[in-house]
């Protein structure tokens, strides 16, 4: 799957590329409006990540352009501005999602997966890792063919893990993913712990193997 990242901050651009490439994506990058529009005209991308404030133009115009020429390309807007108007305009123009800087790379990855899944009707309907199968459409998960009884939060957590498999996920990023950013830290970190404990128990009861490891108290990693 090929992605285009249009972001003028070199360092941030590089971070995204690095994280997403490790997840199996091919990434092209553009640092300004003109490079971005040229590359969009030349090639076809599965999904485009676009910043709104770019040297040489407004990212919203790129969204418009893309919607006109390649309506099946997924679009995620990344912006430092949390302006409601931009968000509404962006989504109205046809962007699939809107992320406000600063964001967790794991969150970006999860959103990207979700956009691709939603757009790609003919694609993969099940995510398989080891003996685990996750069906995003029906929000179900099977271990060795047996259905797991998960709460909504546990399922979300599992999907987040699966999407970011083999990556260290911090408690903060998990908390924000599950509860949004209005919940302040300390309380939600306890929840994360509780939910992970429950999810582990359910996975172990169904399959015998615990795929979630704690990494030096830094976070959690899901791997088979």
């Amino acid at each position: 799957m090929k992605l285009l990242i249009i972001e003028d901050e070199q360092a941030l651009n590089a971070s995204m590329v690095s994280y997403l490439q490790a997840g199996g994506y091919t990434c092209d990058t553009a640092l300004n409006y003109h490079d971005g529009s040229r590359m969009l005209a030349d090639q076809h991308y599965t999904c485009v990540l676009v910043d709104l404030t770019l040297p040489g133009g407004n990212g919203l115009d790129l969204v418009r352009l893309l919607k006109k020429n390649n309506p099946d390309t997924g679009i995620i807007i990344i912006s430092a501005k949390n302006a409601l108007d931009d968000k509404i305009t962006g989504l109205e123009l046809g962007a699939d999602d809107y992320l406000t800087k600063p964001f967790h790379l794991s969150e970006l990855n999860a959103r990207l997966r979700s956009v691709i899944r939603r757009r790609n009707f003919n694609g993969q309907k099940v995510i398989k890792i080891g003996n685990l199968e996750v069906f995003p459409e029906s929000a179900e998960a099977l271990v060795q063919g047996r259905k797991l009884t998960l709460t909504k939060k546990e399922y979300d957590l599992l999907l987040y893990f699966v999407t970011n498999k083999n990556r260290v996920l911090t408690k903060d990023s998990i908390a924000e993913h599950l509860w949004g950013d209005h919940i302040e830290s300390l309380d939600s970190l306890d929840f994360v712990y509780t939910h992970i404990k429950n999810l582990r128990r359910k996975l172990v009861e169904a399959g015998g193997e615990d795929p979630i490891t704690t990494v030096y108290g830094m976070g959690y990693k899901f791997s088979f």
Binding site: A80, P102, R167, V168
Partner: protein
């Protein structure tokens, strides 16, 4: 006391003193004049009588004088009071009252025999004149006083109107309205100066405020990108395979701090945007539904702290607000009630047509309740809150003319939100 009342009162006071002193001297002068006049007449009569006796060598006809009565009495040669003036009261059978008289007693000789003359003159007419004059004076005084006080009042009122206008505008002036203070020009020099000073002062404050706000806004926005970079690099760093335990815990701490900073910055941006009135799209929100929704979302958190929720009242209430802000408002109030609660505590919620009341158990406040709605006020440092939640509540409330208040009743923290624009 208003300046108009004050000047009017001073004016009245001075007028009364001046008129009283004036009246008193007028009375004294008039009285002296009358006595002089009466005494003159009495002495003239006396001269006439003596002259008459000398030329005619007989006692004059008593009715011929100007005076009301002349009493002649033969007297012994020794008792010779030569001349005496005095006041006396004589009972008048006609008027049935005592009438004041002026009396001149003198002794004269006819054929070597002493005669005592007493000339009496009624003061009644003078007294009447005196009374009417004083009454007229009093009336003039009262009318003049009322007239002058009235004129003074209206002139003052007219002169001060510009001042009151300025005062009213200055009172209504708010930095957040983003308009300079406009004052009516006036031809009174002092007021014009006041206006200019006020305008210059507010202009300066307004500019400083805008600069500060712009700085905060820009700083908050500009911080976003570096935060994103540091955060993403840390996240990538964490993916490294050969980290030691010590490195990992350093990374974890850095990451947590960056997150905290990001959240803080986001809240500050939100506050700024509320102040900038960026949330203009309002809609009618069923508050009872939104409250229930938020309660459901926070259910988990309450379970975790073993907090019981008691709904005392949940009436359908509709408010016109921006939905996003309304959610922030309610969730912050509820989060506050959870965060400052004790394990096994309670939260009592009552939503009525005119107010939302959230009570929660917990330790009493360590500080003044008034500071509660300010930024970075966090009653309990252990709770990990940044003290921005209630500042948000306060800002949002201000925007929609809701009145938040805090009290501590029967061991419960009580946060009330009074609605005004209720359209249920």
């Amino acid at each position: 006391m208003r300046i108009l009342t004050k000047t009017s009162l001073y004016y009245l006071l001075v007028s009364v003193i001046v008129f009283l002193l004036g009246g008193l001297s007028f009375y004294k002068i008039l009285q002296t004049e009358i006595y002089d006049e009466v005494d003159d007449q009495l002495f003239t009569d006396k001269e006439n009588i003596i002259e008459y006796i000398r030329s005619h060598n007989e006692l004059p006809n008593v009715t011929s004088g100007i005076s009301e009565a002349i009493i002649v009495r033969e007297t012994s040669a020794h008792a010779g009071a030569l001349e005496a003036l005095s006041d006396t009261l004589i009972f008048s059978t006609y008027d049935e009252e005592y009438v004041p008289f002026r009396k001149l007693t003198f002794t004269t000789y006819q054929d070597g025999k002493p005669f005592e003359y007493t000339i009496l003159k009624s003061l009644m007419d003078f007294e009447d004149l005196f009374e009417s004059t004083m009454l007229a004076m009093a009336w003039i005084f009262v009318l003049l006083l009322i007239g002058l006080a009235g004129v003074n009042y209206f002139i003052n009122k007219y002169n001060w109107r510009n001042f009151y206008d300025t005062l009213e505008r200055a009172k209504r002036y708010s930095l957040t309205q983003r308009k300079p203070l406009l004052l009516k020009p006036t031809d009174t020099q002092e007021f014009q100066e006041l206006n200019e000073v006020l305008q210059a002062m507010t202009g300066k404050i307004h500019n400083d405020y805008l600069n500060l706000k712009e700085f905060t806004e820009n700083a908050s926005h500009e911080i976003q990108t570096p935060l994103a970079i540091v955060g993403s690099k840390l996240e990538l760093f964490m993916q490294s395979d050969n980290l030691t335990q010590a490195q990992a815990s350093m990374l974890e701490e850095m990451h947590a701090s960056i997150n905290r900073l990001s959240r803080l910055n986001r809240s500050l941006i939100l506050l700024t945007r509320i102040e900038n009135r960026e949330f203009s799209e309002n809609e009618v929100i069923p508050l009872h539904e939104l409250l229930q929704e938020q309660l459901d979302q926070l259910h988990e958190m309450m379970l975790m702290h073993d907090i019981q929720v008691e709904i005392e009242a949940m009436q359908p209430v509709f408010v016109e607000m921006n939905i996003g802000l309304c959610e922030i408002l309610i969730s912050n109030l509820l989060l506050n009630a959870i965060r400052h609660n004790s394990t096994g505590g309670i939260i009592r919620i009552s939503l009525k047509a005119d107010e939302l009341c959230i009570k929660n158990s917990g330790e009493p406040l360590q500080e003044e309740p008034v500071t509660l709605f300010e930024r970075f006020r966090s009653g309990n440092k252990l709770s990990g809150s940044m003290g921005i939640g209630l500042a948000l509540v306060s800002k949002i409330s201000e925007l929609y003319q809701l009145t938040p208040s805090y009290t501590y009743e029967e061991g419960l923290h009580v946060l009330r939100l009074k609605f005004q624009k209720n359209i249920s």
